[in-house]
Subunit: 333 residues, 2 copies
């Protein structure tokens, strides 16, 4: 038979459709007798009744569903953000639908085609400015994670203190004695990476004898390896420390260093960022900055729930943590 509706359940239980809705919606105290309620529940169970979500959504005018837009799935940072967001959502009887932007950090092309149900709000993580044009156009409540706080189209922002992370990392290397730095920067025009570059430059002001070179690298291991090789074989004194914008680039940098016959960390120190699973999968394990990814997801979802409640969410920068592992050491020379 076709899928049973609440009317079918009503008929089976010998009551009206309204009574079924009341009982199953848990709104029946004082309106329906316990005996009848139990009869309705039994009928629903027997028929295998599952409410039609489309009808419910139409009636209620809300879907209790939120879209989470992420640039990539291969990065476990976003997987952890999702986990956090989904946990908070579930606690409030919300669902989270994931939309991995096919273009990475670039424009998110019609995410609504993916989530075909109506949405109550959107959370976007680490997306480049201007990448969310049609999301803004839908005038849904939007919470941005790890994105430019100056973007006022978002109802709320949840950010991590990236600048402090890069400051800690740079000072860690400075205190080890490093003075010649190479910054392998992600070749993506996104706030999250711009902040890193600024923080490095800022931290190096305290060390007037330090030199900094910057090379741009794609966000893939192999692309980053090529970029690192290029930078490390360029003329001039070789850097003793390579600061990478994320762990993936760092993994590429490590490969490049070894290809040149150098050792990590004895000859060159390499640092990552994000503390992805990759950071401890490679050898040596990367000194990196741990992001509170699940917390970011939780806060993001929390902020969105606040907005949906008409309240004003407050934003604070979440703290990061320097994790020192085996890829950094004092320079040999």
């Amino acid at each position: 038979m076709a899928r049973p509706t609440s009317k079918d359940v009503a008929h089976a239980a010998g009551v009206s459709q309204a009574a079924v809705s009341l009982v199953l919606g848990d709104k029946w105290r004082g309106r329906v007798s316990e005996a009848t309620a139990e009869r309705v529940r039994a009928a629903a169970r027997d028929l295998g009744y599952r409410p039609n979500l489309a009808a419910r959504n139409l009636r209620l005018g809300s879907t209790r569903t939120v879209l989470l837009v992420v640039p990539a799935l291969t990065n476990d940072f976003f997987a952890r953000v999702y986990t956090g967001a989904a946990r908070i959502a579930a606690a409030h009887d919300f669902g989270v639908v994931l939309y991995p932007s096919p273009d990475g950090i670039g424009p998110a092309k019609d995410p609504f085609a993916s989530a075909r149900s109506a949405l109550d709000g959107v959370i976007a993580s680490s997306m480049a400015a201007g990448a969310l044009a049609d999301i803004r156009g839908a005038d849904l409540p939007l919470v941005m994670l790890d994105s430019d706080p100056a973007d006022t189209t978002a109802a709320a922002h949840v950010n991590v203190d990236l600048a402090d992370g890069m400051r800690q990392m740079t000072e860690h290397l400075l205190s080890l004695g490093h003075r010649r730095f190479l910054h392998l920067a992600a070749d993506v025009d996104s706030w999250t990476f711009a902040v890193r570059a600024d923080a490095i430059a800022h931290a190096l002001r305290t060390a007037p004898d330090a030199t900094l070179r910057t090379e741009h690298a794609p966000l893939t291991v192999h692309g980053a390896r090529a970029a690192a090789e290029r930078a490390l074989t360029a003329s001039g004194p070789r850097p003793t420390a390579v600061i990478c914008d994320d762990d993936i680039i760092a993994a590429g940098a490590c490969k490049a260093v070894r290809r040149l016959g150098l050792r990590i960390p004895e000859d060159i120190s390499v640092t990552g960022f994000d503390d992805l699973a990759l950071a401890t999968a490679v050898d040596p394990e990367l000194t990196t900055i741990r992001m509170p990814a699940e917390l970011v997801g939780e806060r993001g979802m929390g902020a969105l729930l606040h907005v949906l409640d008409g309240k004003q969410p407050q934003s604070d920068a979440l703290p990061v943590e320097l994790v020192v592992r085996d890829s950094t050491a004092p320079p040999s020379a």
Copy 2:
């Protein structure tokens, strides 16, 4: 103002709601004049009209949305499956909603809470048998990827020739001269891994002098490292080749081998499976088996579309490819 409805558009354009539906649904040839159609389109554009998906879904009784259930997001195999499935879906005006099972390959707990819209079908990838209880209960068309073909509750199966992959890998090692093998098997009770073990045992029958030991390892780099250390320091002659159930385990095995002061591949060969991004991120790059992940997603979505059309999909095992990199070599002794 509240979100405009088709009725608002109709009023603005001076026509009936039905006319709006016809025009915007592209069903107006011979029913509405070009001039009126253009007026309707202009009104819709001006008001920023976006159809209410819940209402449309209710009316049509179908959501053109499919749920893809995967055990994990950190694994780029599943990201690629999603990419393939989403591509085919988009071409047929379907959407794909992703549900990452919070328990990994274990039971998928109420995936429908995540996708709160009604669904037309479900694709499940690499899930353990019995993990999809409530999905089966929803009696939606179900396509299983990389799962036990004997499971008849699925309307269709899409599988990769894993057995052939493990056969190729084992023969590759045999032809290099290896005879003492360690199999680092995933400690998960899932078809996809059971097949691998069988295939290794089968392939080794052609080499009567070969010995095989099996150790179970969790699907994490660190867990696998511990398991590998345990197995490699056990009494008896040390294996010369470590066959791992997937690349993550292989990464852990590599770490263990190096911890013991041994070199890869000179002292011990290590092989992976899946050809994840991780396989080329580690040093040395892993000899592994490449899975046609996107193709799996495409075929899965294609099969589901066939089922939804009432047609009978056919299943064939997709071919895999041995990728020889730097983690395998002839044994030294």
